[in-house]
Amino acid sequence: MSNNAISRKTSGVDKALRVALYTVLLVAAAFYLIPFIVMLITSLKDVEEIRTGNLLSLPAALNFDSWAKAWSSACTGSSCGGISPYFMNSFQIVLPAVAISTLVGAINGYVISLWKFRGSDLFFAAMLVGCFIPFQVILLPMAQTLGWLGIANTTSGLVFVHVVYGVAFTTLFFRNFYQSIPGELVKAARLDGAGFFTIFYRIILPVSTPIIVVTVIWQFTQIWNDFLFGVAFSGFDTQPVTVALNNLVNTSFGGKEYNVDMAAAIIAALPTLAVYVFAGKYFVRGLTAGAVKG
């Protein structure tokens, strides 16, 4: 711990420094908070108030009309049913993709750290590179493949894509976590007659809860927030919410309704924000693990 700021004598200079310190921190906090506050205020105003007021002027009364419109009747390009169907699409894509990629990652990590075989380390390195390639490189071949497999423009197609390109990360998470489990534990269990899956199920899985939480949160956030795969591989009625939001904002018949745009944006952000608020610790752990160990 670096607690250099503790000074025994609180001279005037120190006090001034302390005030400056807090000022900077609070200004920064305002910088991060204000955009969201403006979004919220804007979503509660009507069009007239937006036209006459400014970003920070408060609405005369709380008006949830634009939320209702964003949810169920705003136009998103091809249809005018709000973003609710696409919100559901996102869940239909995210839930199976998260479950499958986490499970596969857990088993891969288990093999790579505790059942090494010739070439498994090399393969892991090859996979790590896969975490970092710009996905533009695989976009077109993947579009062709999805066509051949008959799952182009479907929810299953998107689940497939997210699993394929998510497994590298989930494997990385589990592998780093399982590295700390002593290999003797597995050897002893094998001597006792336990097999590959028995050891995984009875010994490894019960201690894996923290890393499962980190991985699930990471994957949930990544896949929910994805736009590239969504826009490239989804059909009109399988679009995820990010794509629908972008369509909603960029299609304007008649006047621009910023209040509806903002309400839709907040709705699209709510699931991942909720995850962040309720499991922030694990979210941060995933971020730093992905960055530092990658």
């Binding site: 891969n108 075989f117 090859a126 710009p134 533009q136 490189v137 590959f196 699209a268 608020v277």
Partner: protein, 309 residues
């Protein structure tokens, strides 16, 4: 199946060397096989596929009439691509620099026994949880020249305040920087804060006993020891910059004209909406080259570093 695998597995361990390869020996390889297959095909295979396409004259559909480096020549003679590349330079450079600066500063400030540190940290980091599409939508509204920031400042009494960057081709790329910094700088702060908390406390105490000021301690001891954090942050940020696609799509849609295009948007437009698959593939390969140019030295030094330990 489980029990059978278990029995033969233990038989193998007791005898030391397997008489024949049993199911248990194959099990790790069998469960890894799908991942291996998918990685080889969907990452490396597709990479090669795109590379091959970049040497063909493919337009609306992939075709395999090879034209050598023609597409790369066309690419670098394409004004829109050159704009996208220089935008990436400006955007990437500023985005990385400001994020690192803000990240380090805020992390150091937060590490001074601040009251309500947890709450402040939470506020700094929440943008990282939301999609770039949401970020783009929000900033599109904040920065819009009629009702946004400009109007607010005029209302506050700055009558001559002008802010039209979003529709100004020369300035629009800085709007991307603002929004991207808003989203990612808190994350850099979190990385550095974690690094600061890992610095050896005895080292700092010793420096203080030697009479070093707080400033000197940071400059000479603490910051140099954060070099690895600095490099990971650099790699992650440049990676975000090169891959940036959704932010542009939501904030400016590449406009005005194509003044705020980034390579990822160029690639998407030419491949999927302009039926120039060959050219699009060539641009994707250049992007891959940029990422590898950053990644390979990093991984190399990481792996070498580990071997030295």
């Amino acid at each position: 199946m489980n029990t059978k695998a278990a029995n033969s597995g233990s038989g193998q361990t007791q005898s030391g060397r397997p008489a024949r390869l049993s199911l248990a020996d194959w099990m790790p390889k069998i469960v890894m096989a799908p991942t291996v297959l998918v990685t080889l095909v969907c990452i490396y295979g597709y990479m090669i596929w795109t590379a091959v396409l970049s040497f063909t004259g493919s337009r609306m559909l992939p075709s395999y009439n090879f034209v050598g480096f023609e597409q790369y020549e066309r690419l670098f003679n394409n004004e829109r691509w050159m704009v996208a590349l220089s935008n990436l330079g400006i955007f990437g450079g500023l985005f990385i620099f400001i994020c690192l600066f803000l990240g380090v500063t805020l992390a150091i400030f937060l590490d001074q026994k601040i009251r309500a540190e947890g709450a402040i940290r939470t506020i700094y980091l929440y943008p990282m949880a939301i999609s770039f599409i949401v970020t783009g939508t929000a900033w599109k509204w904040l920065l819009n020249p009629t009702n946004g920031l400009e109007k607010m400042m005029v209302d506050f009494g700055f009558v001559n305040f002008k802010f039209d960057w979003l529709i100004n081709p020369d300035m629009v790329v800085y709007c991307l920087v603002i929004a991207a910094v808003w989203q990612a700088s808190g994350f850099v702060m979190a990385l550095f804060l974690a690094g600061l908390r890992g610095v050896d406390g005895d080292l700092i105490k010793a420096a203080h006993l030697d009479g070093a000021s707080t400033f000197t301690t940071y400059r000479r001891i603490i910051l140099p020891s954060l070099k690895p954090v600095f490099f990971s942050a650099l790699v992650v940020l440049s990676h975000i910059a090169i891959k940036s696609f959704d932010l542009v799509a939501a904030l400016t849609n590449g406009g005005p004209g194509y003044a705020s295009d980034l390579p990822a948007n160029f690639m998407y437009t030419y491949t999927f909406t302009r039926s120039q698959i060959g050219l699009g593939s060539a641009s994707a390969m250049v992007m891959l080259g940029c990422v590898l140019a950053i990644l390979v030295p990093y991984l190399y030094s990481e792996l070498r570093g580990k071997r030295h330990e």
